[in-house]
């Protein structure tokens, strides 16, 4: 839509299953704007919908958005992924886990049949989409073979499991460590039954009609900041990001496939 903006708008959406609460995006905007020589205006949203819509209308130029949001933004508005964030272990992906209580008699996935399972909520990628797809892949009919509910949060899933309200909880890795103060017995009382497929980490996505030149600038800028000692520290401390790697659209095909498996109808504009 609009050409040559004098300000770049950057949106940040923290992942609900990430490890950290995002405090302030200002320092990152500051650094980036020094790096690329264009003022950067930043904001944090609690959910990706606004950012994805903003990418579509041109109100937002690029954003740090979760993988599922990228797939949506891409199919709706032809937004393009440029980078994927790296986590603590230097990997560009994460996964979720199936937790059960120790001595619950559930040792294999087949044992889940007929049991009560807590997903997180129907719009959560790591808390519902991937775990449910995983079960489906193993031949489960979700409606008939298990008795599932939505807990409303990764933490609540764990809590329900500990309280004996459900037999299996699907949560991000590893929720028990993150909430070890709140649920100190979690590590002893529960064990991991298995993991889902890998899910790509948070993506850096630019709007579809951005000039190649500017896209390149932003990409370079972010990569430079991550290498920069000060910038790297900032990314780590504020956003829990340990670097970036360049990304291509096909890295996110796993999301598309999973969505398809779960009958989530993503409009396909390609």
């Amino acid at each position: 839509s609009k050409e040559k903006e004098e300000v770049i708008v950057m949106g940040f959406v923290p992942m609900r299953d990430g490890d950290k609460l995002i405090e302030s995006v200002e320092p990152l905007a500051q650094l980036l704007s020094e790096e690329i020589g264009i003022p950067v205006k930043a904001f944090t949203a609690t959910n990706y919908v606004g950012v994805v819509e903003g990418l579509g209308s041109g109100a937002v130029d690029f954003g740090f958005i979760p993988p599922f949001a990228y797939v949506l933004a891409n199919s709706e508005n032809n937004a393009q992924v440029i980078l994927t964030a790296l986590n603590r272990d230097g990997e560009p992906h994460y996964r979720s886990q199936f937790l059960v209580r120790k001595n619950s008699g559930i040792n294999r996935f087949e044992d889940i049949k007929g049991k009560r399972v807590a997903f997180v909520d129907p719009s959560s990628t790591s808390g519902y989409l991937f775990p449910a797809a995983h079960l489906k892949g193993l031949g489960f009919d979700l409606e008939r073979d298990i008795n599932y509910i939505y807990a409303g949060g990764h933490d609540k899933g764990l809590q329900l499991l500990l309280n004996g309200d459900v037999d299996v909880a699907t949560t991000s890795v590893d929720i028990r460590v993150r909430f070890k103060n709140e649920f100190p017995t979690a590590l002893e009382e529960t064990e991991v039954l298995g993991y889902t497929d890998y899910i790509p980490n948070i993506s850096v996505t630019v709007r579809g009609d951005m000039k190649e030149e500017l896209v390149e600038k932003i990409k370079r800028g972010l990569l430079n900041i991550a290498k920069h000692p000060e910038g790297g520290e900032l990314l780590k401390n504020l956003f829990n990001i340990y670097g970036f790697i360049e990304a291509k659209d096909s890295d996110y095909d796993v999301i598309r496939e999973t969505a398809r498996l779960m009958n989530i109808d993503l409009r396909n504009s390609k």
Partner: protein, 526 residues
């Protein structure tokens, strides 16, 4: 004219001018703080329209799923509304300044309930899930709490608005508080009671997102899911059905209220009269009893599990009382962000309400057609969840508080007009008559009779909206304008109860300070 008289007239004019100026200044200042910008809004229209356009094609195939969820929600919402409203009646009596048995109750309980009202659904959900696990039962409890708090607020204000004389006539025969309630207040607020019930029912259906948080699913959950999948065709279907439902509830409310106004007719002997009045009285506890039985049947919990939940809830609350003062800077920043959005939305909504209520209220509207049209528009405004309007505006005007302020203004306009126009409709015909006879038109009746008479109700509704807007602002986090609300949401998700405690406390303080200020303003000007 005599001097003292002239002075007073001038003083009166200066006072109204001053009030007007203060409101305008507040509006302009908060408009400035939310970065109001006509050009930007105008330029954003194509983008906004583009999104609205995507809602032009509802996915009718989706109706089936929506209906199932809607019925599920309705069932829960209905029971919860009955309970909430019923509990609110005696509590309203205890806490209203003019009916309380001792002055201690209002002093102690009203701040407590204000505090409870500021507590967001997420916290209730966290508590309820701890206490009762997950499912329909905690779902009903969650909605009952909402229903109770909202209707309590509305009742209390209404009871306090009842003229002292009608209560005096009961006091004079030696009636106690409960009798004053039953014989003096209930008949007066009967229509209002029904109106409140339907309002609460509607709020419950719409705010049924809470249900998702306590695992009871419902329509809120699929709305949220569809929004997350950007399925605007599905959202359109949902909104359409919601709109029809709300319209239907409105109609039902109207019919029931009109019926209850006429119910006095046609008694020809004392026995029948006694029978029917007793039947009417007995039907209330009977209905409540039925609800309780229904709820009881939904409990799926062992006692040991409940005790466990009690402990968890206790730790949670205990941790909240250990305020994390290091979080104060962020808190203040959040407050600043929310405050202006909220203030702006409330003032804009408040002004709109005064005009729209005139058009919408049956008894003063210039024409019946206009009244129906206005009500229709109002219902559309109310049906659109602020979160969706916020996203629409965000597309147009980008990040910053503006989109949120616009979305919240529209919603406030809708809700407030609905509430106030009902107050207007319930005023006694006398007031209108007193102005009709001097050759006044409906606008005169409204402006000089009904507004002065219902000003206290209007102001308290306005304050009520201000309070809930501070809470509602949390959902604006979706577009990055959440302020203190989204801080709260995030910290609850992260179970940072110490921070949550501080945030809650500051929100409650904020509400109380605003309340206090407006009380003082009221004292000076009204």
């Amino acid at each position: 004219m005599m001097n003292w008289y002239k002075r007073h007239i001038v003083k009166g004019k200066i006072q109204s001018l001053l009030t007007g100026t203060i409101i305008v200044i507040l509006l302009i200042y908060s408009g400035y703080m939310v970065k109001w910008d006509f050009v930007k809004i105008y330029q954003g229209i194509p983008s906004m329209y583009n999104l609205i356009q995507r809602m032009f094609y509802p996915n009718f195939a989706y109706i089936n799923e929506v209906m199932t969820k809607l019925l599920e929600t309705l069932e829960i919402a209905f029971i919860a509304s009955i309970l909430g409203v019923f509990l609110a009646i005696p509590m309203g009596l205890l806490t209203a300044a003019n009916t309380t048995p001792t002055k201690i109750f209002p002093v102690l309980l009203n701040p407590l309930f204000s505090l409870l009202r500021t507590i967001p659904n997420l916290i209730w959900a966290a508590l309820l899930v701890s206490l009762f696990s997950i499912g329909i039962f905690p779902g009903i409890i969650a909605l009952t709490i909402t229903a109770f708090l909202v209707s309590l607020k509305l009742f209390r204000e209404h009871i306090e608005g009842i003229e002292e004389n009608s209560l005096n006539s009961l006091k004079a025969v030696g009636a106690n508080s409960w009798q004053i309630l039953g014989e003096g207040i209930l008949p007066i607020i009967k229509e209002h009671l029904l109106a409140v019930f339907f309002i609460v029912l509607e709020i419950n259906i719409r705010s049924a997102t809470v249900l998702g948080l306590v695992g009871a699913g419902g329509i809120g959950q699929i709305l949220w899911r569809d929004l997350n999948h950007l399925r605007y065709d599905n959202i359109a279907t949902l909104l359409l059905i919601l709109f029809i439902t709300i319209g239907f509830i409105d109609l039902l409310s109207l019919v029931v209220r009109n019926y209850s106004k006429k119910i006095h007719i046609n008694f020809n002997n004392l026995g029948r009269y006694i029978f029917f009045t007793r039947l009417a009285r007995f039907s209330i506890p009977f209905l409540v009893l039925l609800s309780v039985i229904y709820i009881y049947s939904k409990i799926d919990l062992t006692f040991a599990r409940f005790i466990l939940g009690l402990e968890q809830g206790q730790t949670m609350i205990l941790r909240m009382t250990r305020l994390d003062w290091s979080y104060l800077p962020q808190t203040l920043k959040g407050i600043k962000e929310s405050l202006f959005i909220t203030l702006f939305a409330t003032i804009v909504g408040g002004i709109n309400t005064l005009f729209l209520s005139y058009l919408a209220a049956d008894n003063v509207s210039p024409s019946r057609g206009l009244a129906i049209t206005t009500k229709f528009i109002i219902n559309i405004l109310r049906t659109f969840p602020p979160i969706i309007t916020a996203v629409i505006f965000f597309r147009g005007v980008g990040p910053g508080p503006l989109a949120g302020a616009m979305a919240l203004s529209l919603y406030t306009t809708g809700v407030l007009t609905k509430l106030y126009s009902e107050v207007v409709e319930n005023t006694h015909g006398n007031i209108k008559d007193s102005i009709l006879v001097v050759g006044g038109n409906n606008l005169h009746c409204y402006r000089h009779g009904i507004i002065p008479q219902t000003l206290p109700n209007y102001l308290s509704l306005l304050l009520y909206r201000l309070e809930s807007n501070i809470r509602t602002s949390s959902i604006l986090g979706v577009i990055g304008a959440g302020g203190i609300g989204s801080l709260l949401t995030q910290n609850i998700t992260w179970r940072n109860w110490e921070k949550v405690g501080l945030l809650l406390l500051s929100m409650a303080l904020l509400v109380m300070i605003i309340d206090r200020i407006s009380y003082l303003i009221r004292k000076i000007f009204v």
